[in-house]
């Protein structure tokens, strides 16, 4: 399995992280010492998460979200699965800015993912404001033939947006 790695960039009162590899018992999640206001984490290069990694994540994100506003970007399916399943994986004050929705074409035996973006395609419920998500059960793409079907159980995948 690929080793968990972190790229960090501080930009004023924002810190940008890029996580890659496998989130497991050996993953060293970063410590923030700078005086910042927001934490932005790009998760597109995260490949796997195991149960030990989930434990480390929950231990890390809970206090982080109490101190900073945290934004997740380009969340892959493995992250959204845990967001939906594990209580505490996406605590308060943590926002998903964008996430991938996988599609599959049985005819081509090919996968494709589309990126949904906050406000344009979805919104997390906040207070009395309900959440929403705009997605299609099937899609076609200009560059390749065949019909692509959403490769998740919608009710399960978009649950964190509390869309029935």
């Amino acid at each position: 399995m690929a080793v968990f790695q972190v790229q960090k960039k501080v930009d004023g009162d924002l810190v940008h992280f890029e996580f890659s590899g496998s989130l497991d018992e050996d993953a060293k999640l970063p410590v923030i010492t700078e005086k910042i206001r927001e934490v932005h984490i790009d998760l597109r290069q995260l490949k796997t998460i195991n149960s030990c990694g989930i434990r480390e994540w929950v231990k890390w994100i809970q206090p982080l979200s109490q101190t900073y506003e945290v934004h997740f970007h380009c969340c892959p399916k493995i992250v959204i699965d845990q967001v939906n399943m594990v209580s505490g994986f996406l605590p308060k004050n943590v926002y998903v800015e964008s996430f991938y929705v996988p599609y599959y074409c049985e005819e081509n035996d090919a996968d494709r993912s589309i990126l949904l973006e906050r406000e344009r395609d979805f919104r997390q419920p906040m207070g009395s404001n309900p959440g929403f998500v705009n997605f299609q059960e099937t899609m076609t793409f200009d560059d390749v033939g065949g019909e692509y079907e959403i490769d998740v159980i919608s009710a399960k995948y978009f649950k964190f947006l509390k869309v029935s």
């Binding site: 149960s51 594990v86 490769d151 009710a155 399960k156």
Partner: protein, 617 residues
């Protein structure tokens, strides 16, 4: 396997090699050097000998020449008619101190030679002549062939008889002038005792002069070897001769040049090569000393060199008997020293590995025991509980795993439980044991709800692991009388509710049991778990699984995934098999995808089929 005994130690091989090589090379060198020196010495001796012989021959030639020169004027004063010497001849004869007598013989007669005249210095001349009669007769006999004959009288008198033939053609007369001349010098040359034994030989090889103590064998050999010198040999030369008794001599000869006389010199080969012998003996002694020193040095050097090897040998014997507590002393800075160091490291490593192997074997045994124990934590793979038919399959990724599933009847409800502890292996297995124990307590409460049950389970897990290990968990309870399913989820993969249908089921037909979600068991000490309910219809199936099912990988590292799992599940359920068949089908399809790749996580799947309300009895 019997140990091979050391028959020829390396130490002996070393000593042998260090000794044999110089022994052979020095021996060869010695043999070559001695041979070369010997040849050189022989050549030198022969060269010296021939020089000496040549000098002696020249001396003899000079002496005889002098005698002949002195005789000539005397002979010229002999009146052939009167057959007497004139007064000048007499006067010359008297003055010449070397001459003792001159006799003239007439050989004209065919009968006995007749003494015609003589000169004498003493009155005892006749007596003198009589004493030399035999020699004179010799000369007279031979002088006819040889015009000049020299006959040394080697009897201590130092006299030489010189016979000169004179032929007067006109008178048809032959005269022989025989002079008795004393030449001490000449005799001394041959009597002188030095390294060279000198001989004067006559024309027929007869010994005329030689050392006082003459070697008879040598004389005869020489006579044989040099025989007659007439035209057969050059004027001088050298030769190596051997007597019949085996004595070896280095000989040289030189013709005198007068009277067909030849001077020869002999030197014993042994005497000539005495220096070589001395060199040989000294060399051998030195050689022996050198070899002895080499042997001694070899013994000590080989002892030092092989001591580490011997230690290694003894150490390997100890290891072969299971004793790893050894250390070879490695002081030398060469390959043997490095080998000893390497051996020490190896012994430590082997000892460590053996300890680890023993520990591993012990742990494996314990794991096997734990495996047996864990098997007792699991329910029978399938059961018909009247309203509900349950079938399940579990395979741990290692000997023991962190997945746990269970079903039980508590009052009028069928409880079904599934949990997945953090990680897998022994630590996760201990959590499942805690879960099993907690469930046993929960089952004592007939009215307990799934939420309350999870509350108790959470406390049990928390107290067991103190948040180091957690467990996702799903607990459902089907009321046999009402068909209501109450469930509570602690962050577990939400089970699929598959409604009974005559049509093949599709993905959109899946009802997720994820209306409520709670923290994982053991995450915090006290949690108020939420639960919810849903109505079941006859024929509805609930599929429960752990993430090991979705994460199952093949040899290429590809995951089975949710899509394949759902397709397999829906196909199996749509095929209208019972729960056992469905579970078996899904398991087989999953494992077919996996091939013989090892499980990367525990694999658990079980199915609850609601068979309909239980009629109240």
């Amino acid at each position: 396997m019997t140990e091979q005994r050391v028959k020829f130690p390396i130490r002996f091989k070393l000593i042998l090699t260090l000794t044999v090589i110089p022994l052979v090379t020095l021996s060869l060198y010695l043999a070559l050097a001695v041979d070369l020196f010997k040849k050189d010495k022989i050549a030198y001796v022969l060269d010296s000998s021939v020089t000496t012989t040549r000098a002696i021959a020249a001396q003899v030639h000079s002496n005889i020449g002098s005698i002949l020169s002195s005789m000539q004027p005397i002979f010229e004063g002999f009146d052939l008619n009167e057959t007497k010497f004139d007064h000048i001849s007499q006067s010359l004869f008297q003055k010449e101190s070397r001459f003792s007598m001159i006799v003239v013989f007439d050989l004209s007669s065919s009968t006995m030679p007749k003494k015609s005249a003589f000169l004498q210095k003493s009155v005892a001349a006749d007596a003198y002549l009589t004493s030399y009669r035999a020699y004179v007769e010799q000369i007279l006999t031979r002088i006819n062939q040889e015009n000049l004959l020299i006959l040394p009288i080697d009897n201590g008198s130092n006299d030489i008889l010189v016979g000169v033939k004179h032929h007067v053609q006109s008178a048809q007369k032959h005269w022989v002038f025989i002079s008795v001349v004393q030449d001490t010098t000449l005799f001394e040359i041959f009597h002188q005792s030095d390294i060279y034994t000198k001989y004067l030989f006559g024309p027929n090889g007869e010994t005329l002069m030689g050392p006082k103590d003459r070697d008879v064998n040598l004389t005869s050999i020489v006579a044989q070897e040099f025989g007659s010198f007439k035209g057969e040999y050059s004027n001088e030369g050298t030769k190596e001769v051997r007597t019949s008794k085996g004595s070896e001599f280095l000989a040289s000869y030189a013709k005198v040049g007068v009277g067909e006389l030849t001077v020869t010199s002999f030197v014993e080969r042994g005497a000539a090569l005495a220096a070589v012998q001395s060199l040989l003996i000294k060399s051998i002694l030195f050689f022996v000393a050198l070899i002895s020193a080499t042997v001694i040095v070899s013994v000590f050097a080989s002892q030092k060199m092989t001591s580490a090897l011997r230690q290694l040998y003894l150490a390997t014997k100890k290891i072969s008997h299971g004793d790893f507590d050894i250390k070879v002393l490695a002081t030398s800075k060469d390959e043997v020293g490095s080998l000893a160091q390497g051996f020490n490291k190896m012994a430590v490593e082997v000892s460590r590995l053996m300890s680890e192997t023993a520990e591993k074997a012990r742990m494996e045994n314990e794991l096997k025991t734990a495996q047996v124990v864990q098997e007792n934590l699991l329910p029978p793979p399938s059961s018909d509980l009247g309203a509900v038919h349950i079938s399940g399959f579990f395979e741990p990724a290692s000997e023991i795993g962190g997945d746990w599933w269970h079903y039980s009847e508590i009052g009028d409800r069928i409880f079904f439980w599934i949990g997945d502890a953090t990680g897998h292996g022994a630590p996760a297995a201990l959590i499942t044991s805690a879960a099993k124990s907690a469930s046993a307590i929960v089952e004592c409460f007939p009215d307990i709800t799934p939420a309350k049950a999870l509350f108790l389970m959470n406390r049990a897990i928390y107290e067991t692991s103190k948040s180091r290990f957690m467990m996702t968990f799903f607990l459902g309870a089907i009321d046999k009388q009402t068909g209501v399913l109450t469930y509570s989820n602690a962050s577990h993969d939400p089970p699929y509710l598959l409604r009974a249908s005559d049509e093949p089921l599709k993905k959109k037909d899946i009802v997720l049991l994820n209306e409520v979600n709670n923290p994982r068991l053991g995450q915090q000490r006290d949690v108020n778990f939420l639960e919810t309910t849903i109505n079941l219809c006859e024929g509805d199936s609930i599929a429960l699984y752990t993430d090991g099912v979705l994460d199952l990988q093949n040899k290429s590292g590809e995951s089975w995934g949710e899509r394949r799992f759902i397709k397999s599940l829906l196909g199996a359920v749509s095929a209208k098999g019972n729960s056992t068949t469905v579970v078996e089908t899904v398991k087989n399809e999953a494992f077919a995808f996996r091939e013989d790749a090892p499980l990367n996580d525990d694999f658990t799947i079980f199915l609850c089929r609601f068979e309909g309300l239980e009629k109240a009895s």
